[in-house]
């Protein structure tokens, strides 16, 4: 099975306090710790496990710039056969549909039985996989938390729905799936593994290689544009205890007693 996994390099929200820059048009990006978008890493692991069972190849791709090669190498160190950087200045300012349009052009130049994305990235939009599927006219499923290959033309998948219930579906190949975290246990990648792929060539695809009309992507085609970031005024906000740990603990115990948390 030929599998493409679409990935994104994002600021690691578990490692960073996200602050606004002084202009308010972006977050403060200096000193941020970046990593692969966490659900994307689960998607790569899932692709590797499928290929280990039924054979095939895994290609990991990202739409971005030179800095994003870092995550491609990390995912290649997990065992993917190829990393591909889809990059062009003409892609700048693309909205979700623009990114999906770029990926569609890449998919049409290659052949993939299965395309995986993470369920969502740093913008919480959860949109590119579903859009890519619709542009390609492939079937799609979101929030996938298990995959079983059934013969050569279909998969049995489970989707995570409300209350921890699982919706079981059969889906025809080729298809696009967005992968939920927790579907597997992604393998560890050490420095040694990354060093081993440090010199592997990563091909770059741009407007001319993909035959994309620049007017169909980028800022000019975007129907959706983020105008600014802001920090919302807190609702009532928490009463912050700031008297040092021992005093905070005593105050918290007092509050827990008052609220019925401690008898």
């Amino acid at each position: 099975m030929e599998i493409l996994v679409c990935t994104k390099r994002v600021p690691d929200t578990s490692e960073n306090e996200i602050q606004l820059n002084s202009a308010g048009n972006d977050i403060e990006r200096d000193d941020l710790v970046y990593s692969i978008n966490e659900p994307d890493n689960y998607a790569v692991e899932e692709a590797l496990q499928i290929v280990a069972k039924v054979g095939g190849r895994v290609t990991v791709a990202t739409v971005g710039g030179e800095d994003d090669e870092e995550i491609l190498r990390r995912e290649m160190a997990m065992g993917t056969q190829q990393g591909v950087l889809i990059s062009d200045e003409a892609f700048a300012g693309s909205d979700g549909k623009g990114i999906a349009t770029i990926l569609k052009a890449f998919v049409e130049r290659n052949h993939y039985d299965l395309i995986l994305t993470g369920v969502q990235a740093d913008d919480g939009a959860a949109q590119v996989g579903g859009m890519l599927a619709a542009l390609l006219d492939y079937p799609f499923a979101s929030l996938v938390n298990s995959i079983e290959v059934v013969g050569s033309s279909k998969l049995k998948i489970s989707r995570e729905i409300q209350g921890g219930n699982r919706e079981i579906n059969e889906i025809d190949l080729p298809c696009v799936l967005s992968i939920q975290t927790g579907i597997n246990e992604p393998r560890y990648v050490g420095m040694k593994g990354i060093r081993q792929v440090a010199s592997v060539e990563i091909p770059t695809f741009g407007v001319s290689e993909l035959g994309i009309d620049p007017a169909s992507v980028a800022a000019g085609a975007a129907k959706v544009k983020r105008t600014d970031y802001f920090v919302p005024a807190l609702g009532k906000g928490a009463e912050m205890l700031e008297a040092g740990r021992p005093a905070n603990i005593d105050k918290l115990i007092e509050l827990l007693k008052a609220e019925g948390g401690l008898n």
Partner: protein
Amino acid sequence: MARIFAYIEHQAGVADDSAPELAAAARQIDPVASPTALVTGWGPDVDRVCETLRTSFGEIWKVAHEALAYPNAELVRKALVSVLPHGSVVLVPHDHFGVDLGPGLSIKLNSAYVPDVLAIEKVEGSWLTAVRQEFGGQVSAHVRCDSSSGAVINIRPGAFTPLEGASAAAQVVDKSSEIGALTARRRYLETIAAEAGDVDITKHQVLVSIGRGIQEKDNVAIAQDLADALDAAVSCSRPVVDAKWLPKSRQVGSSGQTVKPKVYMACGISGSFQHLAGIKGNPFIVAINKNPKAPIFQVADVGIVDDILEFLPELTERIRQVSGGKASAARATR
């Protein structure tokens, strides 16, 4: 402004809580709008749902087809594309169904897509300005959307307050004959209910809930010690289940359990909206997190910026001191 539609989720003949929220969102887009409810399905349930919507929507479009008995997003999309007029604004709940439907629907309608919207701030002609969140809710963003060729807008559940008061009874229009053949390349087979766990966190008055901040499996014992001292149970957020440190049955959130405790201690939990959606009944929320920007502090009653790995053991120790032998006696019976 274009005609506004709201996709109604329903189960067993009852409309989802999101239905009146979408009606409220439609009014924020156009104060004089009388939005149209879209109800797809099959059998008597569809008519029951349509009936209950008549006083909160301007019109109800019913699309009944045997293949729509279960809401398979691929088939629902085909049905909607057949019936919706060009340039429609379509509101969809941003949940497990909405993320399946919304992106592809916007492509097939050739309209804009704005996911997970918390508020509509401004409407200038066909330009809508919406509020979203990014980076796990740590910052918000204004997003401008050109709806001149229509828009699919996914609305965050719980973000819009249903409007009071009922309007005149709207008519139900049967659009079923306008849809063509419905065949899917993704076929629904069955729903498997979540497994019951060792501890039923929905039955506890006090929950010590842990998130990514617990850092490793061995540290779960720190939370269990505190829970024992408080006669509470340990629950968690999604990353703890993803890492297999606790079973799925301990997860609080839209894809886990819905809990209604008296006291909820969120320890090392950032507070994503999917997590908060599982906390009902307005409990007293204590948040302990080393990131002062964590969104959990916006919804908590009391907040402490500290490292839970150091704070929780000291808290447990102090509770044991003040509650004397009582807590340790309770532990001995476990």
